[in-house]
């Protein structure tokens, strides 16, 4: 466990160096946030069938922008890809570590570091009352706030175990780009990264409930804004989250074991 903490610390400190990138990220997040909000509120205000209120959508978008780096599928540890492509992976293989666990911790640390740098400023600014109807509201209840924190954690773990599968597939491919783009595009769209899932057609929503994508960012944000509010349902959802974590991690580890047998460190 101390090893994982050491790795976490290392990666975290490493990532905290890139402060200018974070600042640029914050600016981008605001631009996109406003754009999405205007788009979706205009859309909701002009229809009378939606069960998703415009204040819910505003809160959803701001949460999404705050925690963007945590749940962005494309934000993965490029050092891992580099080590695979360049063959530096060889060094990691000559150390008494479990590669899967180490990559998991590294990516977790990277995402937390990036989120910490970006989330708080965005969170602070978008709750300012000056923004009027465009400002983010507080959690609907204290209980919702607690559920939010718990489901955020599980959502992050689901995402990480999904990203792990991308890494593992890359080991046996020559270039990581194809795998990465395909997996992150699918992930981003179906997890509600572009359009909130409650705004998608019913049939798509029903299908998504049988995939891990439904249980990532969609859950904590919609608990926070009150769209999902039944405690019984939330407990059920957490159960499914844990189930997906178990499935994805087991699958990732299985793939890892297989590709390690076939691994060829190219060059030199």
């Amino acid at each position: 466990m101390r090893l994982y903490i050491a790795y976490f610390k290392m990666k975290f400190l490493n990532e905290m160096q890139y402060k200018v990138a974070a600042l640029a990220g914050i600016a981008t997040q605001f631009a996109w946030g406003f754009m999405y909000i205007m788009l979706f509120t205009a859309f909701i205000n002009n229809s009378d069938t939606s069960s998703y209120s415009s204040s819910q959508v505003v809160t959803y978008i701001w949460l999404q922008q705050s925690f963007y780096m945590l749940f962005a599928f494309w934000s993965v540890d490029k050092d891992i890809f580099e080590s695979i492509v360049s063959g530096n992976l060889a060094y990691e293989l000559t150390k008494p570590i479990k590669l899967y666990d180490i990559w998991f911790v590294k990516t977790f640390a990277l995402k937390v570091a990036k989120t910490v740098l970006r989330a708080f400023p965005i969170f602070l600014i978008c709750t300012l009352p000056v923004l009027g109807e465009f400002s983010m509201s507080a959690p609907v209840s204290i209980l919702a706030a607690i559920w939010f924190v718990i489901t955020m954690f599980f959502s992050t773990i689901i995402l990480l175990s999904y990203i792990m599968i991308i890494y593992v597939i890359t080991i046996t491919a020559i270039s990581p780009m194809g795998v990465k783009i395909t997996f992150s595009l699918i992930g981003d769209f179906f997890s509600g990264g572009l359009i909130p899932i409650p705004l998608m057609p019913d049939i798509v929503q029903t299908i998504l409930k049988y995939t891990p994508f439904y249980y990532i960012q969609n859950i904590p944000y919609n608990i926070y804004n009150g769209y999902i509010s039944s405690n019984l349902e939330i407990i059920k959802i957490i159960g499914i989250q844990i189930l997906w974590i178990v499935i994805l991690i087991m699958f990732g580890k299985f793939l890892m074991k297989n590709s390690m047998k076939k691994v060829v460190i190219q060059g030199g």
């Binding site: 790795y7 490493n14 360049s86 293989l93 000559t94 030199g268």
Partner: protein, 323 residues
């Protein structure tokens, strides 16, 4: 102790000729060529030995190292290194080995080297006092006291290499594989690295296997060399024996007078007016006798004695085995 038995490894290499047409063809049909990187490799290395593993580019040196380091799984054959099979019991096995790949970096790029060392302490679960003692020793021997405070990305190749080497010895490994540790280093760094390797081999009885193209490395470091070519072991023996077998002495003499005939053991290589080059066969005549003979025939103005360098020996070896 290291024991390899009948290790074989093949690679499938994708091939295509240049050009657009051929590139499109690979959508439908891919051509592979099977290359035997290692063909029935066997050898034994005892504890505390320092072995030079040499051979031309593409001979299979790095492949052997990767197999011995537990990274690659061979197609067939057995290995027993300190009682373990490297590729099967990898995590357990690698605790006691150190590896340096001269053409790769194992240090974290953006943080000071010392932080990378700190992480290694956790990886190998080195007790704090042992770690501190060993680090102090390595830092001193390799002269990297100040360097380890600098992020890896800002180090020169020589500085970085010394840090890489230190990082492979932090956990006091019993066996260390050095894959071209002096590649691209300047004279000073090379000598520092060689001195260090010699010292640690003698003091800690660390078994060291070294691949290199630098013949001075071989001369300075190893007694035993294993020559590999086209995936086969061609020769396994002492460097001094090889030297005896291949080494020749040459005399270049500038003189006044005439000389047409030489005694047994001496052969003309070049003959000009006033200058000759003679090859000396040490099994037949000693250097002193040869000089005495020459002095009796001509008036020597200048004399130069050349020995075959290890470089020449290696070239001759490669020629002799046709690799």
């Amino acid at each position: 102790m290291i024991e390899l038995k009948n290790i074989t490894k093949t690679y499938r290499i994708r091939k295509r000729s240049a050009g657009l047409k051929n590139a499109f063809r690979t959508f439908f049909k891919k051509d592979y060529e099977v290359v035997k990187a290692l063909d029935d490799i066997s050898f034994k290395i005892n504890e505390g030995e320092m072995v030079g593993y040499i051979g031309p580019n593409g001979a299979g040196k790095s492949t052997t190292i990767k197999i011995m380091a537990g990274i690659l799984t061979p197609d067939s054959g057995q290995a027993n290194i300190s009682g373990l099979i490297p590729w099967k019991q990898r995590t357990k096995y690698v605790k006691d080995i150190g590896v340096v790949f001269g053409n790769r970096s194992g240090l974290w790029w953006d943080v000071p080297v010392d932080d990378s060392f700190e992480l290694l302490k956790h990886i190998y679960k080195i007790p704090e006092d042992v770690y501190r003692e060993q680090k102090e020793k390595l830092v001193k021997l390799l002269d990297i006291e100040e360097i380890i405070k600098i992020p890896t990305r800002q180090l020169s190749l020589g500085q970085r290499m010394r840090c890489e080497i230190a990082s492979a010895f932090l956990h006091k490994p019993k066996i260390v594989f050095l894959d071209e540790p002096t590649i691209g280093l300047d004279a000073v760094s090379k000598i520092a690295v060689r001195e260090f390797i010699n010292k640690i081999n003698k003091e800690d009885k660390t078994t060291i296997i070294l691949t290199t193209h630098d013949t001075q490395d071989i001369e300075a470091l190893t007694n035993r060399i294993i020559l590999i070519g086209k995936g086969k072991i061609l020769l396994d023996g002492k460097l001094s024996d090889l030297k005896k077998k291949f080494s020749k002495k040459y005399l270049t003499v500038e003189f006044n007078g005439d000389i047409d005939e030489l005694c047994d053991g001496l052969i003309f290589v070049e003959k000009h007016k006033g200058r000759i080059k003679i090859e000396l066969n040490e099994n037949m005549i000693t250097l002193a006798k040869a000089i005495a003979f020459l002095t009796s025939k001509i008036e020597i103005l200048d004399l130069e004695v050349d020995n075959t360098s290890v470089d020449d020996i290696v070239v001759k070896l490669y020629q002799e085995y046709g690799i």
